[in-house]
Every structure is written in structure tokens, then in C-alpha cells.
């Protein structure tokens, strides 16, 4: 369904412009541009970006940043952390779902974002640059909106591919960048939503600066263009979403970082965030002779346990996934080890287990030290795991012992644990 040409003013604010200037309305000739296309793309982004923002905030809460400075990559957040709450352990797939939605949806929305920006690009070249103070401020806000959207998508897409070329810590940039973007996003929605809804309700086109004054002959209908954008989203979705599942489904994620084949075979062959070699773990530190777990209480009570000592304690099982901030996850693995609350009991916390401060042998990584809240320690599925899927942990999955907590982000399931300090933080 191709719409006919429109007659429009060929002069900008009374001043004729040569067609070669992007400030001339006749420079922009695609017959696809118009309020109908922009409005459709706008409402899709309104829904999609709202979900991205909320799942992003939830993901930040999942780190329990207020519990301990080691969990918080953005300690100066101030009122931006107003909504934080103690992260629950139920349902045990909560973080897996939240982060899978955040990353997969973000990647899926890329074509919609690009199409939306394309559809409004003539607006960048309007003369006079500002008609009023409000209009001038709106244009500054639009720079923050466009810059912010691209900044968030680019840092996210680079981070999941481990391409750390952005200027600073991902957590800092993506978190504060999201708030800068969101401020402009809210203003934009408030200013444009009434018009967008009017455009979508009415079948006829309103006259708008977006409709080309001198449209080229169409090669595709607007509806076709929208299908094309949707096709791009669908292609990205089907080649990404599989990295949240195991087996054949993971293989459908053809280009996603944790798609394709598993890194190994057998019980410990599932996805790895960072290998032992990458984290700087030496075999000499993890051998039966060398490795000891130090469990401490705040009152100075301390026990040192070898792996054999741990095996003498009551062992429990839990089926829990690994879910990474990068938007990939595994299905539930069958972990076996000592309950964190039983380790707390060894240093005097028989009732009401407190928070715990966890330290790893690893030399690199922002979360080589991390903290878990009392509710996480108390959950009887929270383990210091020694086995996975019936076998000893592999070095890459944290041998000799690792933390595994229901619904916690992957990096808080500390591997190669060396010390647990129980006591309220």
C-alpha cells in the first residue's frame, strides 16, 4: 500500500533552499518518512525501552549494592538508588529471566532504534535552529536522548562481547548513562505521546515536517518498511535468545557470545564466565595439600578446613542455574556441597545466619571479593558447592569450592573461594 505524493512547502521559513542542502525540505525524499511510521516505531520503543530500563534497575538491585562497598560499582549513586531492596532468593530463576530479557530485548530493539532515528533525521536540520526558548531546550534534550540511547546500546553490545573499549567501568557508564538517557526519554514521551497516539488513531496523515515535500517514487510501502524492521528484529532475536538455554537451543544462537557449542563435554561442560587461567588461578593453590578454606566469625572465631574436612560435613544438593549479567545463562545444574548456614554455624551462628563476606583466590575481576545478605545465607539451597552434576567441580567452575546462591547474579556465585567471613555487614 503505497501512499501518493504530498504537496508541501519547498521553502524553509520563507527562504528557498537548494535541494542539495539537508536544510531544504526537498532534500529528504524518501516517501516512507511520515508521522505514521515514526509513531509506530515510537510506541514500540516506548514499551521496549521501559522494559529495558526497569530490568536494568532490577539487575542493579540484584547485586545488593547497599550491603557492602565491594558489591557496588557506583557508590556515589545517591538518590538514584532510592528503590533498592534486599534481593530475594525466590524464584531461583529470577535473575536468569530478568537479565535474559534485558539483553535479548536490547539486541532485538536495535533495528527499531535505528529505523526510528532514520525516520526523524530531517528534524536535525531545521531552520531556524530554535523558535523559542522551550524549543531550544527541547533540541538539547533530543541530543541527550539520541546520544544517550546510542551510548546505552553501544556500551551494552560491546560489553556482552567483552570488547572493553569504552572509557571507564561498564557498570558506571551503563548505570549513570541510563539515568541521563531516561531523563531525556521521559521528557520526550511526555511531549510527544499525545501527538503519537493521535497519529495512530487517525488513518489520514496529519501534515508534518516529516512528510517529504518532494517524495521520490516509492520502492516499498510503509507497511513493507515496518515488516522489514520487524524482520531485522526477528533475525537478531532468533540468533541470540538461544544463549539462555542448553543443548540444541543454544546452538541456534549463531552469533551470540555464549551461543554455539558448550565449552566442554561431560558434567562440567557447561558455560563458563571466566576460566581459571583467565582469573589467574594456579594449580599449586588449589591442590589438596595447599588449599584451606578459612571460615571466620566477627567475634574472632575461626576454623580452617581442607576439602576433605568439608566432605565430612553434611552435604546437600540444589538445582540452580548460572545467569550472567551479559545476558546468557544455563539451565539448572545439580550442585552438591555444604550449606552456607551450616558453615555459619561452625563459627557461632547456629540460629539466624548473618551476612557473609566472600573472598576468592582469583587475582583479577571486580568481584573477587563480594558480599551476600543474610536472607541469601539462610536459604537452604545456598551452598558452598564441591560437586556439580555428580562430579568434582572442574577448575573452570571453581574447584575446590564455589558459592552458589539461588537467583543471584553469576559474579556473586564466587568461584575458588578462600575465605568466608560471617557477620552483619
Amino acid at each position: 500500500m503505497v501512499r501518493d505524493g504530498y504537496s508541501g512547502s519547498a521553502s524553509a521559513y520563507g527562504r528557498p533552499m537548494p535541494r542539495s542542502s539537508p536544510f531544504s525540505p526537498s532534500f529528504w525524499r524518501s516517501p516512507l518518512r511520515g508521522p505514521w511510521l515514526t509513531s509506530w516505531l515510537g510506541v514500540v520503543l516506548l514499551g521496549g525501552i521501559t522494559v529495558l530500563f526497569v530490568t536494568g534497575l532490577v539487575s542493579y538491585a540484584a547485586y545488593n549494592p547497599n550491603l557492602s562497598p565491594v558489591n557496588d560499582q557506583t557508590p556515589d549513586k545517591g538518590i538514584l538508588g532510592f528503590y533498592l531492596f534486599p534481593w530475594p532468593t525466590d524464584p531461583h530463576w529470577l535473575y536468569r529471566l530478568n537479565q535474559g530479557v534485558h539483553v535479548t530485548l536490547g539486541i532485538t530493539l536495535i533495528p527499531v532504534l535505528l529505523a526510528k532515528l532514520w525516520s526523524v533525521v530531517p528534524r536535525l536540520f531545521t531552520l531556524p535552529p530554535a523558535r523559542s526558548l522551550a524549543h531550544a531546550l527541547e533540541r538539547i534534550s533530543l541530543l541527550l536522548l539520541v546520544g544517550g540511547a546510542l551510548f546505552e546500546f553501544v556500551t551494552g553490545v560491546l560489553n556482552v562481547q567483552l570488547d572493553y573499549i569504552f572509557p571507564g567501568s561498564f557498570y558506571t557508564l551503563h548505570f549513570y548513562g541510563a539515568w541521563v538517557f531516561f531523563a531525556a526519554f521521559v521528557a520526550h514521551v511526555a511531549l510527544k505521546l499525545p501527538m503519537t497516539l493521535r497519529n495512530l488513531r487517525q488513518l489520514r496523515e496529519e501534515r508534518s515536517g516529516l512528510v517529504p515535500a518532494d517524495p521520490a517514487e516509492p520502492t516499498v510501502s510503509r507497511r513493507g518498511a515496518l515488516w522489514f524492521v520487524g524482520g531485522g528484529s526477528l533475525l537478531l532475536f532468533v540468533t541470540t535468545v538461544g544463549q539462555n538455554f542448553d543443548g540444541a537451543l543454544r546452538r541456534t544462537a549463531l552469533l551470540a557470545p555464549h551461543g554455539g557449542a558448550e565449552p566442554g563435554s561431560g558434567p562440567g561442560g557447561f558455560q563458563i564466565n571466566k576460566t581459571a587461567a583467565y582469573a589467574g588461578i594456579r594449580e599449586s593453590e588449589t591442590s589438596a595439600e595447599a588449599w584451606r578454606l578459612v571460615v571466620e566469625g566477627r567475634d574472632g572465631r575461626r576454623v580452617r578446613l581442607s576439602r576433605a574436612d568439608l566432605l565430612d560435613l553434611p552435604l546437600r544438593s540444589a538445582a540452580l542455574p548460572i545467569a550472567c549479567v551479559e545476558g546468557w545463562s544455563t539451565s539448572d545444574q545439580w550442585w552438591r556441597g555444604v550449606r552456607l548456614r551450616d558453615l555459619a554455624a561452625l563459627v557461632g551462628y547456629a540460629e539466624d545466619p548473618p551476612d557473609v563476606f566472600v573472598e576468592s583466590l582469583q587475582r583479577r575481576g571486580a568481584f573477587r571479593r563480594s558480599a551476600l545478605r543474610a536472607n541469601q545465607v539462610a536459604d537452604s539451597r545456598s551452598l558452598l558447592a564441591l560437586f556439580v552434576n555428580g562430579e568434582d567441580l572442574t577448575p573452570d567452575h571453581g574447584y575446590p569450592a564455589r558459592v552458589i546462591v539461588p537467583a543471584a547474579p553469576g559474579v556473586l556465585n564466587t568461584k575458588w573461594v578462600a575465605r568466608l567471613t560471617f557477620g552483619d555487614l
Partner: protein, 152 residues
């Protein structure tokens, strides 16, 4: 009654209030965003918008017009989308996954995840082949259907 002299038009007061309150939040988060290497962060923030609007959009616009002119010269204008769609989808995948496809993060990726990055360029080419191949099948089918319709 008009006063003499130049007055700056304010515009809608509601719009002004909304934008100023939005900027207050921008400022609060912005100073925290710029706490580190502020110059580079501003460069990334503004650069992303400028690079997109003034380089990427003109570039793919020009590529599309060149493609269209090529088809027009050959008198096959209506077939342009059969090339445009698979080409754009393939380039979209390259745009999103270029660090993995080009192998620029291959070493860190392999060391960190224990996975091999070798398969990404091949898989991207394979998807590209399927997209263009599917488009070719579509051309044949629509020609066949058009031909069949003519006979029936």
C-alpha cells in the same frame, strides 16, 4: 501592547517546566557519569549521536540510492528489494556483532570463556548466504507464480 526591543519567545510554559525538571535529573546523573574521564565520556555520548546522524545515516542512504540506480539502469527497479533486504540484514548482524565477527576480541574471548571465536565469521557468512539464497528462491517463486497466473 508590545514593548519595543527584541524579546526571546519562551514557548509553552508547561514544556519549559518539563524540560527543566528533566535537565535537573540529567545534571544529577551527568556529574556522576562524568566523574572519571569526562572528556572521553562526552566524546562517546555526543560522538555517538554525531557519528550516527552525520556518517552512518548518509552512508547507508547513499548505498541504498546507488543500489537503486543500478537496478534502474538495468530496467529492473521492482527487484531492488530482493537484494536490499538480505544485504541490509547481513550488515545489521555485522554492525551488532562486529567485535566477535572480525575477531578483534578473539584472544580475550577464548581465554575468558573457554570457547573458540573462530566460528563467528563463518557463521555470519553462512547466514548471509542463506539470506541471499532465500531471496533468490523468493524471486524464482514469484516469477513462477506470476507466470502461472498468466496462463491460468
Amino acid at each position: 501592547m508590545r514593548r519595543p526591543g527584541i524579546r526571546i519567545p519562551l514557548g509553552s510554559p508547561l514544556q519549559l517546566l518539563l524540560l527543566i525538571s528533566s535537565f535537573a535529573l540529567t545534571g544529577y546523573a551527568g556529574v556522576r557519569l562524568l566523574e572519571g574521564d569526562w572528556f572521553e565520556v562526552v566524546l562517546w555520548f555526543v560522538g555517538a549521536a554525531v557519528l550516527h546522524d552525520l556518517v552512518l545515516v548518509p552512508l547507508y542512504g547513499a548505498a541504498d540510492r546507488a543500489l537503486l540506480r543500478g537496478f534502474e539502469a538495468a530496467g529492473t527497479r521492482r527487484w531492488v528489494s530482493y537484494v536490499r533486504v538480505p544485504a541490509a540484514l547481513s550488515l545489521l548482524l555485522l554492525l551488532v556483532w562486529f567485535p566477535l565477527i572480525t575477531g578483534r576480541v578473539a584472544d580475550r574471548y577464548a581465554a575468558g570463556t573457554g570457547l573458540s571465536a573462530d566460528g563467528f565469521p563463518a557463521r555470519w557468512l553462512l547466514i548471509t548466504a542463506v539470506l541471499f539464497g532465500g531471496s533468490a528462491v523468493w524471486v524464482v517463486l514469484s516469477r513462477w507464480r506470476a507466470g502461472g497466473g498468466g496462463k491460468g
